[in-house]
């Protein structure tokens, strides 16, 4: 994530005459912008530029070879008659709705376990964080594919308990649980943030609650949850956005096809296939912008609802 550096407005000695002060300020600003320049250039060339051109392309018929042809809102209109598009929306929404809360719950639960002082804490923290470091990589997707494949470790482990599901990879009703497990397993990043948040909660609150006879459940809902709510809010937002963008693992596990029977046809995967396999870059651009708009609206909704459940220090609530 990038955040723009803010310029220092350090006041120079008050005895200095005004012109010198403003000269100093201008020099500060120049230095600031100079340091900002590499980032700014990158931002314009690699983010703003492509975004504008993709917005333009979304109103065109563009096959990558010939000049784009303007077709207005046709791409957007066609989207809603495209059964595979609707299928990809269904798959992605299912993944976000089930995967994200489970992942956050796992992250919070483990963060709370790791928050207490025990022997070997450092080891456990690294061990739980490690999966999310390698999680996005191609190799993990390949490992998961093997694990959940026919007579892979998962299949064999379950049949030991008398559950015979066969391989998950080829079974359209088992692929979604597999992807949700994969994302839940990569809870490391939100966990670290939760852990940082938990450390910020003053211990005396818990001590006071204990003296008043509150149990662990009560402490969680009356102290941990409200004190942690800004962090929960942050993680919810980031993980929701993140979940909409799932691509790598879906591409690898389904051999870039979204199978079996379209059960792993995630939104971004279909977008990619439309753009680079079917040469319909205008259509893919329309999909990308629709995703941006939907994620934007969702973000707005989460922000709005946050007023009723997120508590900031210093707020009157």
């Amino acid at each position: 994530m990038t955040s723009s550096p803010t310029l220092s407005r350090r006041a120079v000695s008050s005895k200095a005459p005004l012109p010198r002060k403003s000269r100093q300020r201008a020099a500060d600003a120049r230095a600031g912008y100079t340091f900002l320049l590499p980032w700014l250039l990158g931002f314009i060339a690699l983010t703003v530029g492509p975004m504008i051109s993709s917005l333009y392309l979304s109103f065109t018929n563009y096959n990558l070879f010939e000049a784009p042809k303007w077709i207005g809102f046709d791409n957007y209109a066609t989207l809603f008659q495209d059964e595979r598009f609707l299928q990809s929306v269904g798959v992605t929404v299912g993944y976000v709705v089930f995967g994200t809360p489970l992942k956050l719950a796992a992250a919070l639960a483990v963060a709370m376990l790791l928050n207490s002082k025990r022997k070997g804490q450092g080891f456990y923290r690294s061990a739980f964080y490690a999966p999310s470091l390698v999680g996005a990589s191609v190799s993990i997707a390949i490992v998961w594919k093997a694990m959940f494949g026919d007579s892979g470790p998962v299949d064999q482990g379950l049949s030991f308990f008398g559950i015979n599901l066969g391989g998950w990879v080829g079974n359209p009703s088992m692929t979604m649980p597999m992807f949700i497990l994969l994302t839940v397993w990569q809870f490391g990043a939100p966990m670290v943030i939760f852990l940082a948040g938990l450390k910020q909660i003053p211990a005396d609150l818990y001590e006071a609650a204990s003296m008043d006879g509150a149990g662990p459940v009560r402490k969680f809902f009356n102290i941990t949850w409200p004190m942690l709510s800004p962090v929960i809010f942050f993680n919810l937002l980031m993980e929701t956005i993140h979940a909409f963008q799932i691509f790598n693992s879906a591409y690898i596990i389904s051999n870039g096809e979204g199978g079996p029977a379209g059960s792993t046809l995630f939104y971004t995967l279909y977008l990619y296939l439309r753009g680079f396999s079917d040469f319909r870059m205008g259509y893919a651009s329309a999909m990308a912008w629709l995703l941006l708009i939907v994620v934007g609206i969702l973000t707005l909704i989460i922000f709005r609802t946050s007023k009723s459940w997120v508590h900031y220090s210093g707020d009157s609530k």
């Binding site: 492509p50 993709s54 070879f65 396999s277 079917d278």
Partner: protein, 429 residues
């Protein structure tokens, strides 16, 4: 303590950014079109394939460079699945490699959109090629691709597997009912461990061959579909009574073993595909010997078979080194020593010079013998299919897979594919 302002400024909605693709004209001699031994030009060449093909290609490149010291070849390869996605990206950035290995299914897309060099404008020797083969590299009367080798369709089977199951080896004189009886026989004796084959009606080219057996061309010369919904329905219902039985391996298992084919993974005793995959199947399955038979047909005089260019050599329309690119293509398709390096792993060499220069043994002999055995049935190779054919072939496989998963009815599957095909043809009209 966390305060609100800090918080709101920290939350940044990330947006994906696109990479910039730079096309580099390499080589110290950017200004001129020809090089010299001291100052060679560098051309880029790309192909798809496995490690085996990469090794053979490197040998061929080294040989070319030793015979042509004024040209350097910068080779680069990927697997088949992502090959044309990479080319599409390069084409969009105007940076296609100088020379590429190409497939018939995308030839028209790239040629009609002015991405490929008209090879009629450069010097390439085509005297050693069968006249019936060259049209498959032509689009609208111009030559854009030169076949480096040919392949033909056939039915593979594993004789050792059949023997261990107690199934009598077939002789290749069969109609579809007899072929299906063979699949049932394998399935029932295979006891759930070995199946007859995968659902062969999911293979586009086999459908194409079946259409030709019924005297139908898949596409009309003006770029429309040459067959009706009824034809496709007939084709997909051919295996309707086998789906869900041990004669055909379940779609679940097929997906599990991908990207290996079910035959390569040892799930089935037979599979229909292009004959040059023999070596690949043997490597995948570890079988000691595989046999090839002609495809079934209800008309024993018309097997619908043809020689297809297994790969074509093409050059980018934007290449700065037309002459060097042409010399490299000419070398790859005509040089006898190159034929002997690849043997039948690309297919059977397309030019006479390479066929004569190649010594065959083992697997290669089997493929050559098979093509000899079907020689009298061969018809002209089809023209490069319509623009967007790559998408149609992929969706053919996918829709058939949905049919096998029971996600679509027969009519639903036929309609789904036709809807996509008609949409695509309209799109590219």
């Amino acid at each position: 303590m966390i305060n609100r302002r800090y918080f709101l400024t920290t939350v940044v909605v990330g947006t994906a950014s696109a990479g910039i693709l730079a096309a580099c004209g390499t080589g110290p001699n950017n200004s001129g079109q020809t090089g010299s031994a001291e100052n060679p030009v560098t051309i880029r060449y790309t192909w798809w394939g496995n490690d085996d093909r990469a090794e053979r290609t490197r040998k061929a490149i080294a040989l070319f460079e030793s015979k042509n010291p004024d040209i350097k070849v910068n080779g680069n390869f990927s697997d088949g699945a992502s090959y044309f996605q990479q080319r599409a990206t390069e084409a969009a950035g105007g940076g296609l490699p100088d020379v590429m290995q190409f497939d018939l299914i995308y030839l028209r897309d790239y040629a009609q959109r002015n991405q490929l060099l008209d090879l009629g404008t450069v010097k390439i020797d085509t005297s050693g090629f069968e006249k019936s083969l060259l049209p498959s590299g032509q689009v609208r009367g111009k030559t854009y691709g030169i076949p480096n080798s040919t392949n033909a369709f056939g039915v593979f089977y594993d004789p050792a597997k059949l023997a261990s199951l107690g199934v009598k080896a077939p002789d290749g004189n069969w109609n579809y009912d007899q072929y299906k009886a063979f699949l049932r026989d394998v399935g029932s004796k295979g006891g759930g461990a070995v199946y007859g084959s995968a659902d062969f009606t999911g293979i586009w080219w086999m459908f194409n061959i079946w259409l030709r057996q019924n005297n139908i061309e898949a596409f009309t010369s003006d770029g429309k579909l040459g067959f009706a919904k009824d034809d496709l329905k007939k084709w997909w219902s051919l295996t309707a009574d086998l789906r869900g039985t041990p004669a055909i391996v379940s779609e679940e298992r097929v997906t599990q073993v991908a990207p290996k084919s079910p035959f390569g993974a040892g799930l089935t005793a037979s599979e229909m595909y292009w004959d040059n995959l023999m070596a690949g199947y043997m490597a995948d399955s570890g079988a000691k010997e595989l046999k090839l038979l002609p495809v079934p047909s209800n008309n024993p005089d018309n097997l619908g078979l043809f020689l297809k260019p297994s790969q074509l050599m093409v050059a980018s329309a934007k290449t700065k080194y037309k002459d060097a690119a042409a010399r490299f293509i000419n070398f790859m398709v005509n040089d006898p020593e190159v034929g002997d390096i690849f043997k039948t792993s690309r297919g059977i060499p397309a030019s006479k010079g390479q066929r004569d220069g190649t010594t065959y043994s083992g697997t290669d002999t089997a493929v050559v013998d098979y093509e000899k055995s079907i020689e009298k049935y061969l018809k002209d190779a089809p023209e490069p299919p319509i623009v967007g054919f790559g998408t149609l072939e992929t969706s053919f496989k996918r829709v058939n897979s949905d049919l096998n998963y029971g996600k679509l009815t027969l009519d639903g599957a036929v309609n789904a594919w036709f809807k996509e095909a008609e949409d695509l043809i309209k799109q590219n009209a």
